[in-house]
């Protein structure tokens, strides 16, 4: 039998490459655009001064601080709660139980809820019902609610990927469940936790809609968690949409935001890897 011409394969290869290139290209375009327009504005003064003239001039120091505080509150609340819940449903609740399935389903629905809905909820619950008002605390807690379903689901998948052998052999040696969890299962599930954190944090730090309703947009330096504070994403939104002549600083803020995101992502990956390697040894 005669071998057919390799053209179809060549064609499909070309198509796959073209798709991959266009996806990467779009990302690169976006990043280089931000970098190109923002780079000239970003300097030490920009990072350390307060905004003036509605943000057209001056820097973004209070905004960086507010963002860090909001994200900090979000992480401090969501990591223990998220990992704890994931451990509970992955390790202690029966896999096929109705409760387990119900929790998983509701988490999946929650993970897909638009952020503006979380914003309204946060405004109603944290700002009004709990009386926290427009504050960094309200914003951070609202973000935590948003991040939780993503973090829990991802952590849970991480735990599910850990072979049952570890649990059985540890139990057969009389090792307690807590020690098994801390020494074997959590380190082994760490990649899942890290992915959940990265996705969740990415969503949190880029969030605008939910924060406008909860942490507000005061651009002064916050004095406590009870103060209103403007996050970077809100600042960018405001400069780009509401302030004529604010584009330059919007770009600069975007560059700072993207840099933070890259930095935090690397830090989380590194820490997760460190924790994993300090506990377990995989070939």
């Amino acid at each position: 039998m005669k071998y057919k011409t390799p053209y179809p394969e060549l064609l499909s290869t070309a198509i796959i490459w073209a798709i991959a290139a266009s996806v990467t290209g779009a990302l690169l375009w976006l990043l280089s655009d931000v970098f190109w327009h923002g780079m000239s504005q970003v300097n030490w003064e920009f990072l350390t001064q307060s905004p003036s003239n509605a943000g057209r001039e001056g820097g973004i120091a209070p905004i960086i601080v507010s963002t860090a505080l909001i994200v900090g509150v979000c992480l401090v609340v969501s990591i223990p709660l998220g990992v704890g819940t994931a451990v509970l449903i992955a390790e202690f609740a029966a896999n096929k139980s109705i409760l387990g399935r119900l929790v998983r389903l509701s988490l999946d629905v929650l993970a897909g809820v638009p952020s503006i809905v979380f914003g309204l909820f946060g405004n109603a619950f944290f700002c009004k019902t709990l009386g926290m008002g427009f504050s960094i605390l309200s914003g951070g807690l609202t973000l935590a609610c948003m991040v939780l379903p993503i973090l829990i689901r991802s952590t849970q998948e991480g735990f599910r990927a850990v072979p049952d052998d570890y649990r059985r052999s540890a139990a057969a040696l009389g090792v307690s469940r807590i020690a098994t969890l801390w020494e074997l299962l959590l380190p082994a599930a760490m990649p899942g936790v890290a992915v959940g954190l990265l996705l969740g944090l990415g969503r949190a730090i880029a969030e605008t809609a939910a924060l406008i309703f909860t942490s507000g947009y005061v651009d002064r330096m916050p004095e406590s968690l009870w103060d209103s504070g403007r996050s970077l994403s809100v600042h960018i939104y405001d400069l780009a949409m509401n302030v004529s002549g604010g584009e330059a600083n919007a770009y600069a803020s975007a560059l700072v935001l993207v840099s933070f995101l890259v930095l935090i992502n690397s830090a989380i990956s590194w820490l997760a890897q460190r924790f994993r390697q300090s506990k377990i040894l995989v070939v």
Partner: protein
């Protein structure tokens, strides 16, 4: 090859089950098993797949408790104590287990033994190092790994991993060892080494080993218990010494099984 097993010098207990049955939800794994296992002997559980041998084994260290909806009826005596009322952690320290697939933890070789030891309250560094060395020597692994104790256990060969798992179990100084087809996932040579080790455990431990390899049962066991699937559940159809079971079986199914005519 290896020296005599030195880890344990105690007086291993006998095990007696009385009308023991196990159910997974509504499905019966085995029913009414009354079996007495002599102190310090090696007992082989044989029979076709799915007749409850492994389930029976996991009742003896209560690993069944990991499976939701798993229910036991009947009684198990470990020595003269009721096994079901013992503290489960100390029970599992006394009753070690070796699984079908070697399952070392994803830790270093040394940590594999150290981690459970520490969990059971052994904290003294020198004591730990001593126990680890003795346990590894007992399973004939010391010379092979003494220069790379900190390397991942998962980089060992299958046979070495299984011997490490045995060392990990005997480091806790158990007096009973349960083995679920400990050689079936190994190559013939490693299998021989592990089999050899099992025979060295005689008298020092009460050993119960599930095996599908009849020749192996004949070689290593003192006593044999034959399980069979009957009337929708696993049953113990016959038990006795190796000679009895293989040379003058009472049950027609046993006779057919040990001569290879069925099963």
């Amino acid at each position: 090859m290896t020296k005599q097993i030195t880890t344990n010098t105690g007086n291993p207990p006998s095990i007696q089950t009385d009308q023991l049955s196990l159910f997974y939800a509504r499905k019966s794994a085995f029913k009414d098993v009354t079996l007495s296992i002599k102190s310090g002997s090696i007992t082989a559980l044989i029979g076709p797949s799915g007749c409850g041998k492994t389930s029976f084994l996991t009742c003896l260290n209560r690993l069944t408790e990991l499976t939701p909806n798993c229910q036991i009826s009947g009684r198990i005596l470990l020595g003269d104590q009721n096994l079901q009322t013992l503290n489960v952690i100390s029970l599992r320290r006394r009753v070690g287990m070796l699984f079908q697939k070697p399952n070392p933890f994803p830790l270093s070789i040394i940590r594999n033994i150290e981690f459970p030891l520490r969990e059971h309250g052994v904290r003294n560094r020198e004591e730990i190092d001593h126990i680890i060395e003795v346990a590894l020597q007992d399973v004939g692994l010391w010379d092979e790994v003494k220069d790379r104790l900190k390397t991942p256990a998962l980089s060992l060969s299958g046979g070495q991993q299984q011997r490490l798992c045995l060392a990990r179990a005997i480091a806790l100084k158990p007096d009973v060892l349960l083995m679920d087809e400990p050689c079936s996932a190994l190559d013939p040579l490693s299998s021989e080494v592990v089999e050899d080790l099992i025979t060295k455990l005689r008298l020092k431990y009460t050993v119960i080993v599930v095996t599908h390899n009849l020749a192996q049962a004949k070689r290593i066991a003192d006593h044999v218990a034959v399980f069979w699937f009957q009337d929708g559940a696993g049953k113990l159809i016959e038990s006795g010494s190796v000679a009895q079971i293989f040379e003058s079986p009472q049950h027609t199914l046993t006779a057919a099984y040990v001569t290879g005519r069925t099963g």
